[in-house]
């Protein structure tokens, strides 16, 4: 493993991890505020990508970068206002099930409007090409742009939550909704704002992630389960934990898919070779890159056994 490979993988991992954080931050905010784990969060990510594609074919990428998240945010607020709020009285499980049913509807609607195949949502011409060259490998400009947007969003959320009045109300409503309500604030409206805001963040992640990866109906399911892992590993409801876990999982996965080593190869290096037909061998010949999709879930199980609160969580569910 050379230094070049390590650095490039680290950068790629960081950009992927930051994208995961854009998703998991909204999810964490919604969860810690309303106690609802929004199953449809990744569906809003997908909607962001598709809507940005639709807008970008008409007026280009840059207006889409602003309009698509706003539209997705409005949709999210609508979902909260006309759907989730009605279910709220039944408790948390029906709320979770409501968002679960929503994922079915959104993926079917997307297929209904844009078809079952991937759509040609491309990165804008201005951002094509390399940003810089590290030794011999180039780092794409678009990855750099993704990281820039994610960091800007991170700073904006932090400022919003800690430095503004509405941020203080949100923070207060997280822990003491009744007290906030009796002070004259409209807590349901704050909920709607947070849900819409979280959806808008997911939409923004979709706008910049959709063209970096593939915009297809399966993209929600692909990312959805990963961000749940992020939220549980980081600690349910902890924004800082979500940040750390996003980067950790982003880097872990990026490194893993690029490593061709296997346990068998490692043993071979020590001069130990198991019989080729033994049951153990099926595990030993697996390359790390083949195991990569499993790693986040393995991490999840290990975290739950050894640190049930999650990395930075404060409560045990």
């Amino acid at each position: 493993m050379t230094l070049e490979f390590a650095l490039i993988s680290l950068l790629n991992g960081l950009s992927y991890g930051l994208l995961l954080f854009m998703l998991s931050s909204g999810l964490t905010l919604i969860f810690s505020m309303m106690g609802v784990l929004n199953f449809a969060h990744a569906s809003f990510y997908m909607l962001g990508a598709y809507i940005a594609y639709a807008i970008s074919t008409v007026v280009g990428f840059w207006p889409a970068l602003v309009l698509a998240p706003l539209l997705v945010g409005l949709l999210g607020a609508g979902v909260e206002r006309f759907g989730l709020r009605k279910v709220h009285k039944w408790g948390h499980v029906p709320e979770l099930l409501f968002t679960f049913g929503l994922t079915f509807i959104i993926v079917e609607l997307v297929q209904m409007i844009w078809g079952k195949a991937a759509v040609p949502y491309r990165i804008p011409a201005e951002l094509e090409g390399p940003m810089f060259t590290l030794f011999t490998t180039t780092f794409p400009a678009y990855r750099g742009f993704m990281m820039g947007v994610a960091v800007a969003m991170l700073v904006a959320i932090w400022l919003l939550l800690t430095r503004t009045r509405i941020g203080l109300v949100i923070q207060a409503a997280l822990t003491h909704p009744e007290a906030v309500e009796s002070l004259g604030h409209n807590v349901p409206r704050v909920f709607m704002l947070v849900f819409g805001g979280g959806s808008a963040l997911a939409g923004l992640a979709g706008v910049i992630g959709g063209n970096a990866f593939v915009t297809e109906p399966a993209m929600a399911a692909f990312v959805g389960s990963i961000i749940f892992v992020v939220v549980v590993v980081g600690g349910m409801g902890s924004l800082a934990g979500a940040f750390v876990a996003s980067l950790l999982i982003g880097i872990l996965q990026t490194f893993a898919v690029a490593v061709d080593a296997s346990l068998g190869g490692l043993l071979d290096g020590f001069g130990v070779a198991p019989a080729a037909d033994s049951a153990l061998n099926t595990i030993l010949v697996l390359k790390v890159s083949q195991v990569a999709p499993v790693l986040p879930y393995l991490l999840l199980v290990l975290i739950l056994i050894f640190r049930p609160k999650g990395l930075m969580g404060t409560r045990e569910g």
């Binding site: 079917e108 209904m112 079952k116 389960s225 892992v229 549980v232 879930y297």
Partner: protein, 457 residues
Amino acid sequence: MNRAKHTLIPTRVQAMAPGMTGGTGALQGGRTIRFQPVNVGRYFVWGLAAVLFAVAPLIFTSGFAVTLLSQMGIFIIFCLSYNVIFGQGGMLSFGHAVYSGLGAFFAIHALNWIGAGTLSLPVALIPLVGGLAGAFFGVLFGYVTTKKSGTPFAMITLGIGELVFACSLMFPGFFGGEGGITTNRVVGEPFLGITFGPQIQVYYLVALWCFASMIAMFAFSHTPLGRISNAVRDNPERVEFIGYNTQRVRYLVLIVSAFFAGVSGGLTAINFEIVSAENVSAVRSGGVLLATFIGGAGFFFGPILGAVVFAFAAIALSEFTKAWQLYLGVFFVLMVMYAPGGLASIILMNLRVAKYGKFRRLLDPYWGLLLTGAAALLGIVAVVELTYFRTLEGFSGSKTTLFGLPVDSASPEVWLTVIVLLVAAAAGFEAMRRRFKREWDVVQEEIEEQVAREVKL
């Protein structure tokens, strides 16, 4: 409602003192006296179910119907097993297909071993292999998942589900990779001429296992473990206070549930003669959750109802439309929003209204609801089908058929008609819904009052 009735029947009366019951000295040993009146209604219902299982393929004799019935039977076991943890234990799982799927894989390998002559076991007992495999993985995964409850439990089961799915593609030797594992169910010595070659024989095997599993799971819900799992669902803190370990209860209940899920997996292996990674996928796990909730998780017969409806939608509806998952998703969301007790609760609520003789008052609003609802449904289906057609098949021309009528999906008149119909029907439905809700609330209030009076008397 159902639950409350059962808890009123005391099944264990501890003999406190010999004098109290006028008994002999034998009672001093702490013998328990059981008071259980014969529940005629229950025997009647179970007998009816058995008759239904037996005669269903005689009424619906077509090959398609028998296939559908077999799949319904398998799905009923799966949904009931899911409800053991979900409805009765309060554990929302997004990874239940793990147990049925792994059970199916072990069952299909067992079938292949029988075929190769390395294992000697009647084919009819293959579901037991699946059940044991399911229970084994319940022991393994349940240890991790049941450490939590509520939302974290749901997330962990999702993670475990994804883990197993990803693993199933990693080990092609056992899971058969993308293509899956195939088998031939006509193996071993035929017993009384039963080879399980014809589908009807498979149906009766499914029916037998389904009926046995139904009885077993119903009986389980009445065991002390089943009862305490209800308590863990409703108030875990209080259960801890009376000295039970809630985590242990969840663990044991999950193992039982995983066993029956495995049984359904074993039957899947026999029925389809192929098991692939799809059997452990999140799609399966989501399906069983949808079906159980639609049927009604709060009642024992709810999941049976849900399984029948879901299997019918998945098999029969998918023949007619590509958008069946959209319809199912919308139906599910509407159920969550307006009838979280599922179809079972709707039926029971209406039976209660009928019992108090007030159903006639609801008839009128019901008709209004039904007619406007049907019109709105027609409009929605038309819009969805036309859009789907344009997106997926529009490149081969704009002519299609809708409800048997030839229409041009590119003509503005068609769209205008459909949209006007939809908007008008939706408005009518909303008005009818409000009227119905008013009348319904009044009727329910009257019934509550009447019940309160009866209790006083």
